[in-house]
Symmetry: C3
C-alpha cells in the first residue's frame, strides 16, 4: 500500500472529525483534537494492542500534519465542505476500505490469529470514528444508526485475511479487498441497506 | 483458575453489555460492540498497562466468540433475559469476584507492587462496565449509583494479593478470595448497602 | 524535576477531578476514580504510547496515594475548596506547565521525534482532564470552552523540546519552559484570552 493512499484516508477521516467539531460549535482546539483522533485513533488502538509502539501515528510526521491541513480547510471553508458532503462520504468509504485491509494485514504481520486480524482490521477502520463521537458527547453513530458501516469493513478485513493466508500478499490483492469493502459501503449508502435491531425492538 | 470459569465470567458480562445496547435501542453492531467491550475491556486495559501485549482477548479465540454467543441469545430472547435479571446479576457478581482476583494475580505475576496489583484487579473487574457505559452515552453507573460494586472487587483483590504475598498461590486460594468478593456483592444487593456521597451532598 | 513538584501537580489535578465528581453528585467511588484519572490519565496515555510500561502511575505508590488524599480533603471540605477556586486554578496552571514539559522530555528520552514529543507533552498536560470530562458525561471542556488551556501547554512543550535539542537538559531549563506555560495560562485567565471557532460560527 503506497503511503499516499494512507495519507488520503487519514485526510478524509480528519475532515469528518473537524466537521463534527464545527457542528458541535467547538473551538479550534476541539477541531484539531477531533480531526487527529478521528484520523489516527483506530490505528493507534490497533498498534497499542499488537505491541507496535510507538504507534505509526507517533513515528510519522505526515500522519500528524495531514489532519492539521484538513482542520485548516474546514476552518475556512466548512460551508463549502458541507455542501459536497456526498463526495466526502464517498472518500470516507474509500478510507474505510483502505483501513480495514491495512489494519488486518498489519495484525497478521504481528502474528495475530486470522480471527483477531479481522477484528483489528475493523477496529482500525471504525475506531477513530467511535472515539470522535465519544469525545463529541454522543453515542458512536456506528452503534445505532443502522447504516452498513462496520459490516463492509468486516468483509474487507476477512477477505484480505483469507487471501493473506493463501500466500497472496501483494498490493493488488490488498487493493482488491479494499475495493470490495468500498463497493459494499457505497452500495449500502445508495440503496439504504439497514442493519437490524434486536428482535421485537420497534423503529 | 480453569478457563471455563473465565469464559463464564466473560459470557455474563457480555450479556449485560448486549442488554444495555437493547435498552438504548442500538442496532446489532452496537450489541456486538458493547458485548465485547463489557466482557473484554477490563482485561484489555490491564494487559496494556502491565505490558502483556497482545492482550489475552487478542490471543484467545474463545474470548472473542463467547460475547458473540451472548449477543445472539440477547438478540432473540432479550425479554426473557430481562425477566431473569436478578439471576443475571448473581452471575455478574460471580464475574466480578472472579475478575478482580485473576486481574490482581496476573499483575503480581508481572511483578507489579501489591498496591498496583490491587488497583489492576479492580480495573479488570469494573473497567469493562465503565467502557460500556461511556460508549452508551451515560456516566459510568459505578461512579454514581451508590451500590457496592467496586468495593467488593477491592476487597477480593486485596485478599488475593495478601495471600499471594504469603506464598499461597493455588486455585483454591484464588477461589476463596473470589467467593469473598462475590458474597460481599450479593450481600450488598440483598441488604441494599450504599456508598456515601461527599459530606453535605443531599440525596 | 524533583518528585515533589510532580506530586504537587498530581495533587492539584486530582482535586479538580474530585470536585467535578461532587458537582455531578457522584458517590465516593466516582470521586476516587475521577481524581485518579484526572491526575494520572495524561501520563498513562503518554507512557502507553511511548512503550514505557508499566506506566509511571503503576510503578510509583505515591502517584496512586496522592489522589486518595486529594479525594479525602474534597470529601470533607469541598465547600471551602470551591471557595478558593481561583487559587486552585492557579495551581492547576502550575500542573499544566509542569506536565507539558516533563511529558515532552520523557518522549524525547524515548527517542520520539521533536514534533511527537511536543504532541505527547500536550497529551500529558490535557489528557487527564479530557478523560475526566468524558467520564463525567460531558464534552471535554478543553475542546469547546475557548479558554487558552491547550495552547500554553503547546508553547511550553515546544520550548522545552527546542532547548533539549540544543543540548540544554537541566532542571533549570525545564523549570523555565514550565514557567513560560504557567505564565501564559495565568495571563489567559487574567485577560480572558479566547481561542476562535471556525470562520462564521457565531457566539
Amino acid at each position: 500500500m503506497p503511503g499516499a493512499l494512507d495519507l488520503a484516508g487519514i485526510f478524509v477521516f480528519a475532515v469528518s472529525g473537524a466537521l463534527a467539531a464545527v457542528q458541535k460549535r467547538l473551538d479550534v482546539v476541539g477541531m484539531v483534537v477531533l480531526a487527529e483522533i478521528t484520523a489516527l485513533g483506530g490505528g493507534i488502538l490497533r498498534d497499542v494492542v499488537i505491541g507496535a509502539v510507538p504507534p505509526a501515528a507517533f513515528t510519522s510526521v505526515g500522519y500528524v500534519l495531514v489532519p492539521l491541513l484538513a482542520t485548516a480547510i474546514v476552518f475556512f471553508w466548512h460551508p463549502q465542505v458541507t455542501r459536497i458532503m456526498p463526495t466526502v462520504m464517498l472518500f470516507d468509504a474509500a478510507g474505510l476500505g483502505l483501513f480495514c485491509v491495512t489494519g488486518a494485514i498489519k495484525a497478521l504481520d504481528y502474528h495475530l490469529s486470522p480471527l483477531h486480524a479481522v477484528l483489528l482490521g475493523v477496529i482500525t477502520a471504525v475506531g477513530g470514528g467511535i472515539l470522535r463521537d465519544m469525545m463529541s458527547g454522543q453515542i458512536p453513530s456506528v452503534l445505532y444508526d443502522r447504516q452498513l458501516y462496520a459490516l463492509p469493513s468486516l468483509v474487507g478485513a476477512t477477505v484480505a485475511t483469507l487471501l493473506w493466508q493463501e500466500g497472496l500478499h501483494g498490493a493488488s490483492v490488498s487493493a482488491g479487498a479494499a475495493l470490495l469493502a468500498f463497493g459494499l459501503r457505497v452500495a449500502a449508502m445508495r440503496w439504504n441497506w439497514r442493519t437490524p435491531r434486536a428482535r421485537g425492538v420497534r423503529d
